[in-house]
Amino acid sequence: MKAFDLVIIGGGPAGIAAAATAASHGLKVALIDERPTLGGQIYKRVGPGFTVKKASEVGKDYYLGEKLIAELDNLKVDIYFETLVATIEQSEVVVIQNGKSAERLSFRKLLISPGAYDRPVVFPGWTLPGVITAGAAQSLVKTQRVAPGSRIFFAGSGPLALAFPAQLSGYGANIVGIIEAAPRPGILKSIQIALSVLGNFDLLRDAAKYQLHLISNRIPMHYRRIIVRANGKNRVESVTHARVDKNWQVIPGTEKTVEVDALCIGYGFFPSVELFRLLGCELGYEESRGGTVVKLNEWGATSVANVFGAGDGTGISGSYVAIARGRLAALKIAAELGKISESSLSKLAAGFRKTLNRRVKFQSAINRAYEIKSGIYDLADDETIICRCESVKLESILPSLESTIDPSVVKAYTRCGMGLCQGRNCQRQISALIAKKQNIPISEITQATPRFPTKPIKLGQIADASIRDEKYFVDAE
């Protein structure tokens, strides 16, 4: 078994920054990512068969990503590509490398930075071909240079709701409309955001740039409107949207329908907390950072000894925060393993901490301005599929909601959340349904018991014939 001082799960901004910082202080580091390239979401590299001649031409993020990844060039970091972390046991991670059998890597310290995934939104027609998440659309464009359709409609909320279509349009895609659920930023909100903005001018500038791009390309944009339906027989042919009140409840009679062949949904992100839950790390709930978040101390340590977290996987805060958090965690780990002294730790950390505080302020102002509202959970009708893996409709779930506050019970009786995605798509919708029915806050609804594997894996890759079972019924302890 290979042994490392530090194992990092996730090669996005948080993980790369942490790996570079830790390795530069002499730690033996493994950096693991299930994708074939580094970069995570925002710094995603182009796919095989593509080359980028000049990074700056593909966009600022691509360039920044290249710079960050280049930090690893002269450092010794064992990078495991196409490698899934299936589970974590005591001081070992169990990994599955593409096509191969499971293997274990041991660590003294662990940093988990698995990023976030797109928030799924359930509305009639959400499972029709042609309806995809905004992040998926972005990935298609970034890695394959493919637009998801020829008449693309964006529905979403938050600053990225503008960034995504602007980026796509920049690649020449035909965007026929954008709706944002939040109101057009008013003077008050702008001041609020501006106040937190010292040192964040680049971010504001980006936002302004995106907006300008959309305006100059005459892409229709409507505020205070939400997606209510995707229509079509075998794929999406049109979408219906409507005006909402401040809780995102649809105002009847305001529906409008647009012909489209692709609908991109971008209502924010969920932190990917699976590995933290498996380890029993203490969690919290913050709607504005994506719901379930991981409790971290100022250095990024979780409540479990030797386990750190950084980046959007611990709560949505954006790539700048992810990088700062990654570096701070790496420094602290280097100090705990005796590679730097306590006094140089605080010196080295000072700069990152300043960036962090600044960025966190900005990001929380943004997140609050675009916080998800309860109307998003009220779009399904009886016939709408809630669990797409198991094809469970709302009407078959309603009876079990009468009597329980436990999503596991709903799961047991309806198969909701038992399929391939293990509830990633439907779990929040179920929690919201229970919360509404029983009149309790969604933050108080428990989640299904965490279990491995983090993603589906072939039994042939898991099977290990060297493990014998001669003694029947031995206890594991």
Partner: protein
């Protein structure tokens, strides 16, 4: 006929949260399959019965098992050197299985509910020649006891079950084996018992069982998280917690616990009608009505106490997967989606603990290791014992509480 939508609505319905009655002839502790079945059989006999469950009904072993009927003689029943006495024991155990099979045959009619009961047969596979010999030996015992099994090898085996590994040394096939939906059976018993007047109370943890005298007719005062209740007879059906509660009364039960590991896969086109077990290794395997494969068979998980779940260990997933792929090679390309684990209580001789304590009259225990297969059956036996005076001999001696 009851269906699952309806049951889901009943499960924690408000009546279950109503106050405890002040007293009851019988109090059952535990709302798993044994407790709920017993409440039904006692209620049909007109006994005043109250069932107390700490959590929701059916959330421990009875709601986390694979729902298989294991009627064939299996690995855990065998000893290193089988003697004539062992043959006799196995024959007796097989007869009990036959009674259970008959009960399962009739249960959907009896409870007027769809419980997903299917008799689709079960394989017991052998890899080595010694294992194949065991299949032949056990078949002899089973056939004498009246359980139909067939042993196949070579081309005959490959023709009968072409999907199994062609180089297995042989297989036994028992047409009577099958399965039911474990999520429905216990709650349905509870619902029918409730219709007959049994009081079902959930979210009610028994903290102490106190023996009392002086209040005529009552021998026990049960202290719970929701107050106290007097009763004349107690049945401890608390599964993995049976020993803990009994030790309060000075009883030392010959039982232990483990977490049990289960693997569940993505769905594949349905082809495997019968369950598969292994006579020499830990394996139970079947394809469900949802087309997924459920794979288990006794691999351990880490035992943790309530309210923690029993947590899975990778070695069990890997070892279990290896045996499964060895026996059913197509599985190597099927994806594992999730594992789970449940708490499992067993006795050192794998026999039930069933009946009334001689040391503490009125104190009963209902506990059995293969509790899905045998749960309804042993509960019915205990109910008969409790309702028909002079039926001491109904319960086999080997099951005695004070053994």
């Amino acid at each position: 006929m009851l269906n699952s939508d309806f049951l889901a609505g009943y499960l924690s319905q408000s009546e279950n949260f109503e106050e405890l009655p002040k007293q009851s002839d019988v109090v059952i502790i535990g709302g798993g399959l044994l407790g709920t079945a017993l409440s039904y059989y006692l209620a049909t006999a007109g006994v005043e019965v109250t069932l107390l469950e700490r959590n929701d009904l059916n959330r421990e072993a009875s709601g986390t098992n694979a729902g298989s009927f294991h009627f064939q003689i299996a690995l855990h029943q065998l000893t290193e050197n089988m003697t004539a006495a062992d043959d006799k024991r196995l024959a007796d155990e097989t007869k009990l299985m036959l009674d259970a099979a008959k009960l399962w045959d009739e249960i959907e009619k009896e409870l007027d509910a769809d419980l997903g009961v299917h008799f689709t047969g079960g394989f017991m596979v052998a890899e080595t020649q010694e294992e194949f010999q065991v299949l032949r030996d056990k078949q002899r015992i089973e056939n004498v006891a009246g359980l139909e099994t067939h042993v196949l090898t070579g081309n005959e085996m490959r023709e009968f079950a072409p999907y199994l590994a062609p180089d297995l040394s042989g297989i036994a096939f028992c047409p009577r084996e099958g399965h039911a939906n474990p999520l429905l059976v216990g709650p349905t018993y509870a619902y029918r018992a409730h219709e007959l007047g049994a009081k079902i109370r959930t979210n009610c943890e028994v903290i102490q069982i106190e023996q009392i005298t002086g209040i005529s007719g009552y021998r026990f005062k049960i202290h719970t998280s929701r107050g106290t209740i007097l009763c004349n007879r107690v049945v401890n059906a608390s599964g993995a917690w049976t020993a803990e509660l009994s030790s309060q009364l000075g009883l030392n039960l010959p039982m232990a616990l483990s977490g049990l590991h289960v693997n569940v896969t993505e769905p594949r086109e349905f082809f495997l009608h019968s369950m598969v077990q292994h006579i020499g290794r830990r394996l139970t395997l079947k394809q469900t009505a949802n087309n997924t494969f459920i794979i288990g068979g006794g691999w351990p998980s880490r035992a943790e106490k309530f309210p923690l779940r029993y947590s899975n260990i990778w070695e069990s997933a890997a070892g279990n997967a290896a045996v499964a792929v060895r026996v059913l090679p197509m599985l190597k390309d099927v994806q594992l989606v999730r594992v789970w684990s449940g708490v499992w209580a067993y006795t050192n001789d794998f026999k039930p603990i069933l009946g009334e304590s001689e040391k503490i009259p009125g104190y009963h225990i209902a506990m059995v290791p293969t509790g899905f297969t045998l749960g309804p059956m042993v509960s019915k036996m205990l109910a008969e014992y409790m309702t028909q005076p002079g039926t001491q001999n109904l319960l086999p001696k080997e099951f005695h509480v004070d053994r």
